[in-house]
């Protein structure tokens, strides 16, 4: 995995697309290395977008648009299209016919991303996009395996009647091209086949090993444009992989993309690992490990493999949580059996105690602006949820409904708090930040530890089965509670922690 770092800054376009002024992301090397663009695209639209800028006929005037190339592996983004046209479809999104044919390629070039070259990769890209859109429950897309494959020249100028006749309301087309530097240029277009208009388009330059990110970005573009919601597919999940019998279970830290791809075990399983959390920049993972025999929170640097204790103390530490800006970590520490919540700078240093009482105060989740923390405490006699200011002040209970309130997680949108509602069984529920409007979203025997999608519309959690088997699996549900599905993981799974949109 490469580490996308500093994003390239947008620059004012030197060329105007028809009636559209938008920022462009690009750099000199891309321009130099770029291959020709289908003439028809240029003929039809004049200048299309960033990759049209690199068409040979325009090369001369593009040279002064150069910027420093981004670090290897970085994703270069175009800014999202500023079109504000309406969508013709007005029914339920799930009834929307979305056709996602194979992405075209200008020429079938070798790429490390696929042994079949960019042609085969174009099919895979469309499959990944189809899987993303199908699995979130909102859409029923048709993927490339049952669709004709558009030619490269059709990508920016679709054959609308063909798709309209097939019953498609929406059409997602795209292309993939091998760049001279080994990277891939991927373009993504969304069309309304009833209005015969383009709704959105975007393009990315990705390292070959990160080709799936371009597909997720495309799925995000389509999802956002059609649903009006923020994107979430281009993100990762940390979780605990579980194998072995219930009384001797092996628990390993693992990570994967939001669709389960690029799965990787981080720990060997010799020491029990629990409750991971990605840092907001994805460079570090905090989690609990029994590696020295005691439960303690460590911060694992993914780039270097180095691991450090969250605090130099012999006391057990639990429940790591990052602040939204990544500058602080919350952890919970038991001193003489009593657990309270502390905050420590992520770079190390002095800890600040935020709660101070005889009850178990544990966990904690920041509001998106970092000003408040929702946490769990049994100071009233049973687990309930409380909110405090980020400095520990103004602590007040917010959960007063039936049952207990555990593992609260503040939505990235700020409008909801998800929690484990314990009322006999465990359910995943949401409530407003003031504790109002409690809604149970799931109905399992033991559904625990919600984590939010980056856009605050979907919640993942783990579901344990009853009895001696007692295995755990990752599930997700949307805020309607209707679209629930199990995630595929190689082995049993618990403690999902969904990171933000990848930088």
């Amino acid at each position: 995995m490469t580490n996308p770092s500093t994003p390239v800054r947008p620059e004012e376009p030197k060329l105007r697309a028809e009636g559209v002024s938008k920022g462009l992301w690009h750099h000199a090397r891309a321009l130099r290395d770029a291959l020709g663009f289908p003439p028809r695209l240029l003929g039809a639209n004049g200048v299309v977008w960033v990759l049209a800028l690199i068409a040979a006929p325009l090369a001369a005037q593009n040279q002064d648009l150069g910027q420093r190339p981004p670090p290897e592996g970085a994703v270069v983004e175009t800014e999202e299209e500023g079109l504000s046209g309406s969508v013709s479809f007005e029914g339920n999104l799930e009834d929307l016919g979305i056709a996602i044919p194979a992405f075209a390629t200008d020429r079938d070039a070798a790429t490390p991303a696929n042994t079949g070259g960019t042609g085969a990769l174009g099919v895979e890209l469309a499959r990944v996009i189809t899987g993303d859109l199908r699995n979130n429950g909102l859409f029923k897309p048709t993927g490339p395996d049952s669709l004709p494959r558009p030619a490269y020249a059709e990508i920016a100028a679709p054959n609308y009647p063909t798709w309209g006749n097939r019953g498609a309301d929406m059409l997602v087309q795209g292309y993939v091209r091998a760049q001279g530097d080994g990277r891939l240029a991927v373009g993504c277009y969304l069309y309304d086949t009833k209005l015969n208009t383009q709704l959105a388009r975007q393009g990315w330059l990705v390292g070959a090993s990160e080709w799936r990110r371009a597909a997720h970005k495309c799925a995000d573009l389509v999802y956002s444009r059609l649903s009006g919601e923020s994107p979430f597919f281009d993100s990762r999940i940390a979780y605990i992989a579980e194998t072995g019998p219930k009384n001797a279970r092996i628990k390993r830290l693992a990570i994967m993309d939001s669709d389960g791809a690029n799965h990787r075990f981080i720990t060997s399983g010799r020491a029990t690992a629990l409750t991971p959390r990605y840092s907001p920049d994805y460079k570090r993972l905090s989690y609990l490990s029994y590696v020295d025999g005691n439960p303690r929170i460590y911060v694992y640097d993914i780039g270097t493999g180095r691991q450090t204790l969250v605090t130099q103390s012999r006391n057990p530490t639990f429940a790591p949580r990052w602040s939204p800006d990544g500058r602080y970590l919350l952890y919970s520490m038991a001193v003489a059996g009593n657990t309270d919540i502390y905050r420590v700078p992520a770079s190390g240093g002095q800890s600040t105690r935020l709660t101070n009482g005889p009850g178990i105060d544990i966990g904690g989740s920041y509001s998106p602006d970092g000003s408040r923390i929702v946490f769990e405490s049994d100071r009233s006699g049973a687990q309930q949820c409380y909110v405090m200011d980020a400095d520990g002040g103004n602590q007040r209970r917010i959960s007063f409904g039936g049952g207990r309130c555990a593992t609260p997680e503040w939505s990235p949108r700020g409008d909801q708090i998800a929690f484990t509602r314990i009322a006999g069984d465990f359910n995943v529920a949401v409530m407003s930040p003031s504790g109002q409007n409690v809604r149970a979203l799931t109905n399992g025997w033991q559904d625990e530890a919600p984590t939010w999608a980056p856009n605050g519309r979907i919640i993942q959690f783990f579901r344990s089965s009853r009895g001696a088997r007692g295995d755990a699996q990752l599930w997700q549900v949307d805020l309607t509670g209707r679209n629930e599905r199990r995630l595929n993981t190689p082995v049993g799974a618990s403690d999902p922690a969904w990171g933000p949109i990848l930088p």
Partner: protein
């Protein structure tokens, strides 16, 4: 002395403490060295020596190595107190043996809370042993939350067995 004799001795010691065990914990402890007969060290070929779990469990009786708790509770009741007094006599006798109290919870709590709850239970047992005169430095605590059940069912009987603080002597 045989294994059976050791077990008998431990059982007798427990019985002798029956009266004390009914009292509230804060009215305890009796000094362990003043009460009953402590097991004596008599190594044989068939029993591991002091400092092993086998020796400890044989001396105090296996049921006395573990105390149990009600749901979400961590108080030491009379039955727990009697068991811990038996343990305390052993550790007073073998004053060079350090040990660990492992705190556990049943599966009916969330993972993180149960880690804190297990720590609380281990410390409750430890504090009681300290009140009986066992130096705190000799007692390590560790919580496994709900991660290490001994009973695998999802029923009240299994959960009751899993809400526990187990004293272990690590070789």
């Amino acid at each position: 002395m045989t294994k059976n004799a050791l077990a008998l001795l431990a059982a007798t010691a427990t019985l002798a403490l029956g009266a004390c065990a009914k009292k509230a914990p804060e009215q305890l402890p009796p000094a362990p060295v003043e009460t009953g007969t402590a097991p004596t060290e008599t190594p044989t070929d068939s029993v591991s020596g002091p400092g092993t779990q086998e020796h400890f469990a044989t001396a105090v009786g296996a049921p006395n190595t573990t105390v149990y708790f009600d749901t979400d509770m961590y108080d030491i009741d009379a039955e727990d107190a009697a068991k811990l007094q038996t343990q305390a006599r052993y550790f007073a006798q073998y004053s060079n043996v350090n040990f660990t109290v492992e705190g556990h919870a049943d599966e009916r709590g969330t993972r993180e809370y149960n880690l804190a709850l297990g720590e609380r239970r281990a410390n409750a047992a430890k504090n009681y042993l300290v009140s009986l005169g066992i130096p705190a430095e000799r007692i390590r605590t560790v919580s496994y939350g709900k991660e290490r059940p001994v009973a695998l069912g999802s029923d009240e009987g299994s959960w009751a067995q899993n809400r526990r603080a187990a004293t272990v002597v690590i070789d």
